[in-house]
C-alpha cells in the first residue's frame, strides 16, 4: 500500500517537474521562464522528500526557490527587457543539433541506468537525511569543504558587488 502511494507521488512530481522544466525553455519572456523554474524547484523538493532528503528539500525551497530566484527576478525587472531585445532564437539546424545531443545523453544514461536496476535499495535509519544526520557529517567528515564554502560565498558577494557597481 505504502509502495503504491510513493509511486503515485513520484509520478505526479516527476510529470509536473518535467512540464515546468519544459516551460522554462518554451517561454519567450524571461519572467515566465523564471516562474516555471520556481515551480520546477518546488516539485523537485517534493522528490527530495520522497528520497528522505528532508534537509535538502528545505534548502531547495529556501535557497533556490527563495534566494536565487528572487535574485533572478530582481535582475529581470531591473533590466526590464522589451521584446526587441530578446533576440532571435538560434537557427533551426542548431536547435536540431541541440535536441539530438540531449536525446543522445538521455539514451546513454538510460542504458547505464539499466545496470543499476538490479541494485536493491538499502534500508535507511529513521533519522536519514534530517538536519541532525546531515549536520553531523557536514561538521566532521566535510568540515574543510564546508568552511571553504563560506570563503567561496564571501568571494562571490565581493565579486558581484565589484562587477555590478559602476563606481567603487
Amino acid at each position: 500500500m505504502n509502495v503504491t502511494a510513493e509511486l503515485v507521488a513520484f509520478a505526479i512530481f516527476a510529470t509536473l517537474l518535467l512540464a515546468s522544466a519544459i516551460g522554462v525553455i518554451y517561454a519567450r519572456s524571461p519572467m515566465y521562464a523564471a516562474m516555471s523554474l520556481v515551480a520546477a524547484f518546488v516539485f523537485q523538493a517534493g522528490l527530495y522528500v520522497l528520497l528522505s532528503a528532508h534537509l535538502l528539500a528545505f534548502m531547495q525551497i529556501l535557497v533556490y526557490a527563495g534566494a536565487v530566484m528572487v535574485l533572478f527576478l530582481f535582475v529581470i525587472m531591473l533590466l526590464s527587457l522589451g521584446d526587441a531585445s530578446l533576440g532571435e532564437e538560434r537557427q533551426k539546424g542548431m536547435q536540431v543539433l541541440g535536441a539530438l545531443g540531449a536525446i543522445g545523453l538521455v539514451a546513454l544514461v538510460a542504458g547505464a541506468a539499466r545496470e543499476v536496476l538490479a541494485l536493491e535499495p538499502s534500508t535507511v535509519a529513521a533519522d536519514f537525511g534530517t538536519v541532525k544526520a546531515v549536520g553531523r557529517v557536514l561538521f566532521t567528515q566535510y568540515l574543510l569543504p564546508f568552511e571553504a564554502t563560506s570563503i567561496l560565498l564571501l568571494v562571490a558577494i565581493v565579486g558581484a558587488v565589484v562587477v555590478a557597481k559602476e563606481k567603487i
Binding site: L56, I76, S85, R90, A102, V124, A133, A156
Partner: protein
C-alpha cells in the same frame, strides 16, 4: 520504493532539457536558468544514489552544489548587469569580443 533507475532517468531528462535550453536560447538570463536546471539534475542524481546507498555523504555534496550554484548565480547575474549597462543587450550572439574571427 521507486526504483533508482527512475530517478536517474528523470535526472537525465532534466539535464537534457537544460542542455537544450543552453544551446538554443539566446537570452543570457534564460541560459543561466537552464544552467540551474542542469545543476538540479546533478543534485537529484546525488540524492537518489545517497538514498540507494544509505549514506548521507551524497546529501553533503548536494549541499555544496546548492552553495556553489548560489555563488554562480550572484556572480553571473552581476556580469549580466555589467554587460547590459555597457552595451544595452543580453543577447549572447551579440557578445562576441573574445572570438578570434569576430
Amino acid at each position: 520504493m521507486v526504483p533508482l533507475s527512475a530517478y536517474l532517468l528523470l535526472a537525465a531528462i532534466l539535464f537534457g532539457i537544460g542542455l537544450i535550453g543552453v544551446i538554443i536560447k539566446r537570452n543570457a538570463l534564460i541560459v543561466m536558468m537552464c544552467v540551474e536546471l542542469m545543476l538540479n539534475a546533478a543534485n537529484l542524481t546525488f540524492l537518489a544514489f545517497a538514498r540507494q546507498q544509505g549514506s548521507v555523504g551524497g546529501h553533503a555534496t548536494a549541499f555544496f552544489i546548492i552553495a556553489v550554484a548560489a555563488a554562480e548565480a550572484a556572480v553571473g547575474l552581476a556580469i549580466v548587469i555589467a554587460i547590459y549597462r555597457t552595451r544595452d543587450t543580453v543577447n549572447m550572439d551579440e557578445i562576441r569580443e573574445l572570438r578570434e574571427d569576430a
